[in-house]
């Protein structure tokens, strides 16, 4: 892959009023301090020893404010005429060809400025803007008593929450993009009263065995944890037989037992467990409370669904690659990692060729295999976390083997 110029650009869209944004984005790249964009991270279920957590990119951006352009709205020079809090912020990765004739832009972060966490440095004349991910708006909205009613399906409740007007100013949602893993009827909606939209979403996602993602077009998508139905992204180590190589490093390789739960107990007494897996791997239990469902059969079904998803240990690893080589990777995309052992021919001989060499041929013998670890290319991984370092353009992917049984998760 040829190297081209790579850099980031940063844009903001200030609010025009409480409910609407200005029409045009404003580029603030020139105000960004060198290495002033922090790591960008988004993940689902990628925290060790748990599942059901979700979050997207939070990013800190250090900017120069010598002319007051990025100051608070009480400074008449500021571009934030209404409020700086909740202004949209977008970080773009740019790749420019060698003669500068074309620039490819990839949006790597969309978020909202959180003024509460932003800090001004009077000595240096700089501001560190903290931008929370798009889903942070969910934490700013509270559900009224009765917003969700008894008898509502989980999918309907998710759609209603995500369609709240203030939330809809940040991202859109369509009913066709709400596809939960387990759709159930909310029997007691009172736990949803007077809580944040984020807490409500988290409760519903957990119980429905679903995750919340955002498309490049700022659309909210609720789906199961199934891997996206696209061609896999291919990664190769230095000794891959095809001579390709695009892996910078592999870290934190493990067999996934830290995210395996072979027993799920809800509300203290409704438990589903997999006895053979408990016998083999030892008990690992996830407990939770679901207080918006009364029917124990439905709760049992929820527990069974969650147990089935996480009962088997699945290989996990972190892989680093040059972001410019592949800017299209998204959460839940499939990936293949081909890192074989290094084959070293016996001195004075040629390597054995399957379907061609003859056994016991002195000239062509089985090579030695050298190396500490290997990863088979036929393991089907899915992306559960992305971390991009804007200063080095190195992206770290956390990959988890697909599947729910010991024997599945292969191409």
């Amino acid at each position: 892959m040829s190297r081209t110029k790579q850099y980031v650009r940063v844009y903001v869209t200030p609010l025009a009023n409480n409910l609407a944004y200005q029409d045009n984005e404003i580029e603030i790249t020139d105000y960004i301090i060198e290495d002033g964009v922090s790591e960008i991270r988004e993940f689902i279920d990628s925290e060790d020893y748990d599942f059901g957590l979700f979050s997207f990119a939070d990013v800190d951006i250090q900017v120069d404010n010598h002319n007051g352009k990025l100051g608070p709205p009480n400074d008449s020079r500021s571009i934030f005429t209404h409020a700086r809090d909740l202004a949209k912020l977008r970080v773009v990765f740019c790749s420019e060809d060698t003669v500068g004739e074309s620039i490819t832009e990839t949006t790597v972060f969309r978020g909202l400025i959180n003024d509460e966490a932003s800090v001004s440095d009077f000595q240096e004349g700089t501001i560190t803007l903290t931008a929370l991910s798009m889903d942070s708006i969910l934490g700013r909205v509270i559900l009224d008593n009765g917003f969700i009613t008894d008898g509502t399906l989980a999918s309907e409740a998710l759609l209603s929450v995500l369609s709240i007007e203030k939330i809809a100013t940040v991202f859109s949602v369509d009913a066709s993009d709400i596809n939960v893993g387990l759709d159930f009827t909310i029997e007691d909606a009172s736990p949803f009263a007077n809580i944040s939209a984020r807490d409500a979403i988290a409760m519903l996602l957990f119980a429905s065995n679903s995750v919340l993602l955002f498309s490049d077009a700022q659309e909210a998508i609720v789906q199961e944890r199934t891997v996206n139905d696209i061609d896999p992204h291919y990664f190769y180590g230095g000794d891959a037989l095809t001579g390709r190589e695009n892996v910078l490093a592999v870290q934190n390789y493990n067999d996934g037992r830290q995210r395996m739960f072979n027993s799920v107990k809800i509300n203290g007494d409704i438990e589903q467990k997999n006895l053979p897996f408990i016998a083999e791997f030892g008990l690992r239990q996830k407990t939770a409370d679901i207080d918006f469902i009364v029917d124990t059969e439905i709760i049992g079904e929820i527990a069974t669904t969650l147990l089935d998803q996480f009962k088997a240990p699945k290989v996990e690893l972190e892989l680093q690659h040059d972001f410019s080589n592949n800017t299209s990777i998204r959460l839940l995309d499939p990936a293949s990692v081909d890192i074989p052992l290094r084959l070293v021919p016996i001195p004075g001989t040629f390597m054995f060729i399957f379907d061609q060499s003859i056994m016991d041929d002195d000239d062509e013998q089985m090579p030695e295999e050298v190396g500490a670890f290997k990863i088979d290319a036929n393991i089907k991984f899915k992306v559960i976390e992305r971390r991009l370092d804007p200063s080095t353009f190195v992206q770290t992917l956390k990959l988890r083997q697909d599947g729910t049984e010991l024997e599945d998760g292969y191409f």
Binding site: D239, L241, G243, D355, Q356
Partner: protein, 280 residues
Amino acid sequence: MSGVMFFSENLITIEGGSAASALVSGDDSVQSILDRNPDTYWRSVDSDDTTEERIIIEFPTLYDISALFLIGMNFKEFKVRWQTFIVGTWNEFTNVTGVGGAKSGVNETTYAYDTGYYTFDSVNTAAIEIKCLKTQVADAEKFLSQVFVVESRLGQLSGYPNVTVHNDRASKVRTAISGRRIISKSRELLHADLTFDNYPTASEYVADVELIYSLFHRDKPFLVWLCGGAVGSTAFKHTLRGFRLRDVVQMQIENVIDATYNENIYIAQANLEVNLVEHI
């Protein structure tokens, strides 16, 4: 030939979409010639000096090519031709220069080296054909490790900077509790430092420095041939790794170039150094 030689990057890789086929024997191993691995080879099956092996390499698209390497081979009598797109005819290269000097096409009958190098008038093609009849040891199985095809030769140094070759195994060294070492090694890598010390001011040497700067500004990697085609005891008493005919390596410049004039006199000799590292 002499002086370090530089070429544009190798065009034919598996990753890039090129594919090889062996039409007589050894088709199961022929992709090895595109994998950039010196340990893997295409090898014929039950061949001898009466059997002409034939390999075709097809490119994913039309390329302009003006030089090629056949690396790690035992061919004695062989030829290479290019194909006219769509029409499909096979043509001789013209204005060919090889390791042994000027040639009529890429045609050899008594070749004795393990690597072949040929420049020729540029052609626009999507396929080349390699035919081999005889081996340097009579009636041996034929083998070939790598084929490189490039668009252009970027240049050759007229002078001789100090060349330091680094043969790197990317070793991981750990100390065991006894104090002894545990060492794991990776594939052999080749890096080279070119140090231009008191580099002369004649025009051909000024051109050398300009060539180095052009490589420095190049975003794509490039092939480096430290021996520049020089071979044999008249060129090297010891042929160190890196200076063998087969040591054609894809590299890039990784350092900042710190350049000075001797005594800060602008019409005096120049001093600079570049660190070339093997590139993927």
